[in-house]
């Protein structure tokens, strides 16, 4: 064999793969150990995580535990006001809070796609660590898997959480009663619009940021204030309208809400008007509804408004025993119509 190429007494170096996720990062060997130590342990460090055992252990008090899990597959990974990391922590904390629980510990499961930039992973993990620290809820166990390039979307995260429900607290859809006041903890739709603006490259007048935030402090404050909370539910996918329909079906009651009382900020309204979307169906990540006895509505609002996450709280409607399973909206012009479940995703209109 002959070659015109000059002889070089060296082997060509392979392209550096140091800065991207490789299949070996999920293979159980040295690279995986480095990833766990250099990225996850360094960011999440706490005494319960430190042993790196197959699970975390802790002594339990007498009482009622709450346990929840949620998976996060948001695209894009980063959006105004948040990212998949902060979302994965706040979202699961909020699911626990909606059970009336004080969140104790979280787990974090990562499914990473081969080729994911290490810098992107680090940003996400740092964001999770910061969100967990801010909320005071440590991540005490976790897992990492790596899938072939093209078999994932960069990064998927599952977080599970355990919390403790204070003695005497019961917060369930079945406890909703006719006459209850329906309260919402703030303005609606900013998360959905923020994500949409980045995903679709749309720019709107007025900057819209996601409302992602932990809600357990607001809920704890409501419980400590002696408010007789019948039900709590965070307003995530499908927005307020979908959640009210779910609760009406679960409790077998009706609801009437007043369109003029529902807080929606101007930039969100503008974006929704432009696209033909209804903000009542747009996703939120830091808002909830509370059903409380009507005489306690004002006291509950006062508690909620003490928190940044609840400073636009509003009394938007009432639980009824007419029209069971149906949510009725009193419109801005004073008429009534059904506020129904959507059949699927809202789609932007043609004209």
């Amino acid at each position: 064999m002959t070659s015109n190429k000059a002889f070089e007494p060296t082997c060509p170096l392979p392209h550096s793969t140091k800065n991207i996720i490789q299949l070996a990062h999920g293979g159980g060997g040295r690279l995986m150990q480095e990833l766990i130590q250099d990225v996850f342990v360094r960011a999440f460090h706490n005494p319960m995580l430190a042993p790196l055992h197959d699970g975390a252990t802790w002594p339990v008090e007498k009482g009622t535990l709450a346990f929840t899990t949620d998976s996060y597959v948001v695209r894009p990974l980063f959006f105004p006001g948040g990212d998949i990391g902060s979302l994965a922590v706040n979202g699961t904390i909020n699911d626990l809070a909606m059970c009336g629980a004080k969140p104790l510990y979280l787990s974090a499961g990562f499914i990473l796609e081969e080729g994911l930039s290490m810098e992107v992973l680090q940003r996400v993990v740092n964001s999770m660590a910061e969100a967990a620290r801010t909320a005071g809820v440590p991540i005490v166990t976790g897992d990492t898997k790596v899938v072939d390039r093209g078999k994932g979307d960069g990064i998927f995260i599952n977080t599970s959480g355990v919390g403790l429900v204070p003695s005497g607290v019961r917060v369930l859809p079945t406890l909703i009663q006719p006459g209850d006041a329906i309260l919402v903890s703030g303005d609606l739709g900013s998360h959905g619009v923020a994500v949409l603006s980045v995903r679709e490259g749309l720019t709107f007048d007025g900057h819209v940021e996601s409302d992602t935030t932990p809600l357990h402090h607001v809920v704890a404050d409501l419980i400590d204030s002696g408010i007789d909370i019948h039900c709590l539910r965070d307003l995530t996918r499908g927005g307020l309208a979908s959640v009210l329909n779910e609760l009406a079906a679960a409790a077998k009651i009706g609801m009437t809400v007043d369109e003029t009382a529902i807080p929606v900020n101007e930039p969100v309204r503008g974006a929704c008007e432009l696209l033909g979307l209804d903000p009542l169906y747009v996703a939120n990540e830091g808002r909830f509804v509370a059903m409380v006895p009507a005489p306690q509505a004002e006291a509950a609002l006062a508690v909620m408004r003490r928190h940044k996450a609840g400073n636009q709280s509003a009394h938007i409607g009432i639980v009824t025993d007419s029209d069971p399973l149906m949510v009725v909206l009193r419109t801005v012009v004073g008429t009534h119509r059904v506020l129904d479940l959507l059949s699927g995703e809202q789609l932007p209109r043609i004209c």
Partner: protein
């Protein structure tokens, strides 16, 4: 919100309602042409504010609803073709053809993209020279200028991997088809404000006089619709026949000259088959011969030739609904065998479809209007 809240004022709505009640002495049947108006009427419960002697009938003005099954089948076929990026406004993805919809193609690994502007689709073609970008050009006169602009720019830039599957429809021929029908009951029209923003309302004047039917160009907010109805009822009660403009903040008699100019530069009228109604002469648009390289039906004629004639579900009565001859809730399949999850026809899935509006907003509410 400025330009919105002023047109949703409860006190003004009450005053307009009172004015309508005082004026309307006889029974009248009025059609709102546009699906956007249909949704405003049902979403805000405006029909419940009107006296019982006024009947609002919903017209054929939902471009999604009137797109024929054959065209949906063509869209599904092209979207499934290898190497194609198929672009559509979001509304069209759920509309059923003979064998599924565009969402189904997307789920089966077809490259279907929701776009917000025709120029975004052109940009996709520019960035993907090795792919064919096919766009579903849907809509009334409102969206035609933007598609015309995209085609003109494609030609100017020498972009050849870009084409339109054209489903454009025109309002005036549809109005004439309704008025010519022996079953016609319509005595006055609310004309579509967005269409007239582009086209003006000169051509409606001839229709008004020919069929002796008053027309009011109307907007989409609750107060727009109520004022449009009030103006129309005044004409009907006084026996006047005119085209009046309620939506003057957006519409002029001559319309948007630049928009009209680019439409007539790129498109020409053509016969169009309307779902549930049939073919209406000169009620659609096609590309002029100078732009025929951008016509997806010509470009992909081999792929499309294998398609059988599209078949509508025989139980779907969308044709009667779209002509105002049947109220959605009077259809025996409504809410039973036809729901947004399992639609028999497009009016149950389109965001501007009359059936969808009734299903979503108007089922057994006991509350008083």
């Amino acid at each position: 919100m400025k330009y919105v809240d002023e047109f949703r004022d409860r006190a003004v709505a009450a005053a307009l309602t009172e004015r309508i009640k005082k004026t309307a002495q006889r029974p009248w049947t009025i059609m709102e042409v546009c699906g956007g108006q249909t949704h405003a009427i049902v979403r805000f419960g405006l029909d419940s504010l009107l006296p019982k002697n006024l009947e609002l009938v919903h017209g054929p003005g939902c471009p999604v609803c009137v797109t024929s099954v054959s065209l949906i089948d063509q869209a599904v076929c092209l979207a499934s073709a290898p190497g194609v990026i198929f672009c559509s406004f979001g509304d069209m993805l759920r509309v059923p053809g003979s064998h599924g919809d565009l969402f189904g193609v997307k789920a089966a690994d077809g490259d279907v993209r929701i776009i917000y502007s025709p120029l975004d689709a052109l940009e996709l073609a520019r960035k993907n020279p090795d792919r064919e970008v096919v766009c579903f050009a849907v809509g009334f006169e409102t969206t035609a200028p933007a598609w015309a602009m995209a085609v003109a720019q494609a030609k100017q830039s020498g972009i050849t991997n870009f084409s339109l599957l054209i489903a454009h429809v025109l309002v005036p021929p549809a109005m004439e088809a309704i008025l010519s029908s022996p079953q016609n009951r319509i005595q006055g029209f609310l004309a579509a404000g967005h269409v007239c923003t582009v086209m003006g309302y000169e051509e409606y004047e001839a229709i008004a006089q020919k069929y002796r039917v008053p027309i009011v160009v109307t907007g989409f907010e609750p107060l727009d619709v109520l004022e449009g109805v009030a103006m129309l009822v005044s004409q009907l009660e006084e026996g006047r026949v005119k085209v009046e403009n309620q939506y003057a903040r957006s519409v002029s008699r001559e319309g948007n000259r630049q928009a009209r100019s680019i439409v007539s530069e790129v498109f020409e009228p053509a016969p169009r088959t309307w779902r549930g109604i049939g073919e209406i002469p000169s009620s659609g648009l096609r590309l002029k011969s100078t732009y025929s390289d951008y016509d997806a039906e010509l470009k992909f004629h081999r792929e499309l030739a294998q398609l059988a004639e599209g078949k509508e579900d025989p139980e779907c009565q969308s044709g009667l609904v779209l002509q105002g001859l049947l109220k959605p809730m009077d259809c025996s399949a409504f809410g039973v065998r036809c729901t947004p999850e399992r639609p028999l026809g497009a009016p149950m899935v389109s965001s501007e479809g009359a059936c969808a509006a009734y299903y979503r907003y108007r089922r057994n509410v006991k509350g008083e209007g």
